[in-house]
């Protein structure tokens, strides 16, 4: 099935209706495996103790924080170049999810930082650039909410998303440079020993689980958005009919 076949929202909705239960089940299964592995088989770190297990939630969220922007950028190209009718639906549905994953990455990072570094927040390069990413997600959501016509909002948000995609590496680079300028010998480094398979397996399982969670929620949110637009179109038609009568 080509991507263009999915341009028909009815066909897309049928596919989502068929796929969603399986995806939800796969997500639940992956979370069950991942949580079991992280709680019971992954060893405690010799320095950090049990708090190292925050990593199994924190790292997948951080990966998704960046991954969702990539999804939004691809969808934006779909909106601007191919005018794919579902591309802006995909971009709109992804933005709040990306913001949520970014927030969770920051939040779990803060919870992890408190016992490890003795503070909830430091102006570390990595934290700061994720914070800027979070602000940009909020900007995109604000733009979606300010423009009331969905297709116009979609194109505006697509342009902003692509501008962000160009700028995010520059911001990341500048913030890295800024931080190394101010604190040459940073104590905050996550490197430590190379990752042992006993830690890597649960981590990758949890990453898979969060990835599946994103796909499931994204498809569900796209379905809701399509239905919401139908309701809106029906409301407009009704208003027109009432005016004509």
């Amino acid at each position: 099935m080509a991507l263009i076949d999915l341009a028909n929202p009815t066909r897309f909705l049928a596919l989502v209706a068929r796929a969603l239960p399986w995806l939800a089940a796969a997500t639940a299964l992956a979370f069950a495996c991942g949580l079991y592995l992280s709680w019971f088989t992954a060893p405690d770190d010799y320095q950090q103790g049990a708090t190292v297990k925050i990593m199994f939630v924190h790292v997948p969220n951080a990966w998704l924080a960046m991954g969702v922007w990539t999804v939004m950028s691809i969808a934006s190209i779909g909106t601007l170049v191919w005018r794919h009718p579902l591309a802006d639906v995909a971009a709109k549905a992804a933005a709040p999810l990306g913001a949520a994953f970014t927030f969770l990455a920051l939040f779990t990072g803060a919870l992890w930082g408190r016992p490890m570094w003795g503070t909830y927040w430091v102006w570390d390069a990595r934290l700061t650039s994720v914070l800027v990413l979070f602000l940009m997600y909020l900007g995109i959501i604000a733009l979606w909410r300010t423009v009331d016509d969905p297709s116009r909002a979609g194109r505006a948000a697509a342009i902003l998303t692509l501008v962000g995609a160009v700028n995010l590496p520059i911001i990341k680079f500048s913030v890295d440079w800024w931080n190394t300028l101010h604190q040459p010998a940073s104590v905050i480094r996550l490197g430590g020993p190379a990752i042992h398979p006993a830690i890597l397996t649960p981590l990758l399982t949890m990453a898979l689980a969060f990835g599946l969670l994103f796909v499931t929620l994204h498809l569900a949110a796209m379905r809701n958005e399509i239905l919401r637009r139908r309701v809106r179109a029906m409301g407009l038609m009704q208003a027109h009919a009432a005016q004509g009568a």
């Binding site: 800027v132 300010t146 342009i159 692509l162 500048s174």
Partner: protein
């Protein structure tokens, strides 16, 4: 070419005659710089240390002031439609408007910097450094702001949305602007951050008009 020149003259004339133009931005800049010592105390040593940062923050906020009217005013009176239909490439038209905006908003901030630097107890060399980095950096701020102005052209609440969209994108300019100023003051490697600042300005001179042009084409139908 003559059309672009006419547009430049028209925009500058409008900016000077309506709404105080250049003076309003400088006045805002002055107020921000005046308020800071009230917040952190009249400590001249501290002010000297964070002076470049205060000047940069003030200039960043002041350069955003008039941005929301950049295209919105033209949209309301219909001249934006004429610009869109004109024979000149839209990107060049947008760049011309950005130039006019910078001359009436950014350049006065740079000119006012030496006076405000005195308030913050900066050395002559530091004042020169801040003024130079602002001269190199404010065009980037204008061009990045251009994108936000074009995106929010037809919005009723555009004035509030614009800083939210634009300010995160200005992080690199702020970082390298302040870093170059501080490097000049401490005498350590002014060249590298200043050149990156110039590179950011050149990059946004390309990206800003392109994205703003696309946004205007999409937004106004």
């Amino acid at each position: 070419m003559t059309a672009l020149a006419a547009l430049l003259v028209r925009d500058m004339r409008l900016a000077v005659r309506i709404g105080g133009g250049a003076l309003m931005g400088v006045l805002f800049f002055l107020i921000v710089v005046t308020l800071t010592p009230f917040a952190i105390g009249p400590d001249l040593v501290l002010l000297k240390r964070i002076g470049p940062a205060i000047l940069w923050i003030g200039a960043l906020l002041a350069s955003l002031l008039a941005l929301d009217r950049l295209f919105a005013a033209d949209h309301e009176d219909g001249s934006l439609d004429l610009l869109l239909m004109g024979s000149a490439p839209l990107e060049l038209t947008v760049l011309t408007k950005a130039l006019a905006h910078w001359i009436t908003t950014g350049l006065p901030l740079v000119i006012a910097t030496p006076l405000l630097g005195l308030f913050l107890n900066l050395e002559p060399q530091a004042i020169g450094a801040v003024a130079l980095t602002l001269l190199a950096g404010t065009p980037a701020l204008t061009c990045i702001g251009l994108i936000g102005a074009a995106l929010s052209v037809a919005l009723r609440r555009g004035g509030l949305l614009l800083p939210v969209l634009v300010l995160p994108l200005t992080v690199p300019v702020l970082i390298f602007g302040v870093a170059a100023s501080n490097a000049a003051i401490t005498g350590s490697g002014f060249g590298a951050p200043f050149m990156i600042l110039c590179a950011l300005t050149l990059g946004s001179l390309v990206l800003g008009p392109l994205a703003a042009g696309a946004a205007l084409r999409q937004g106004v139908e």
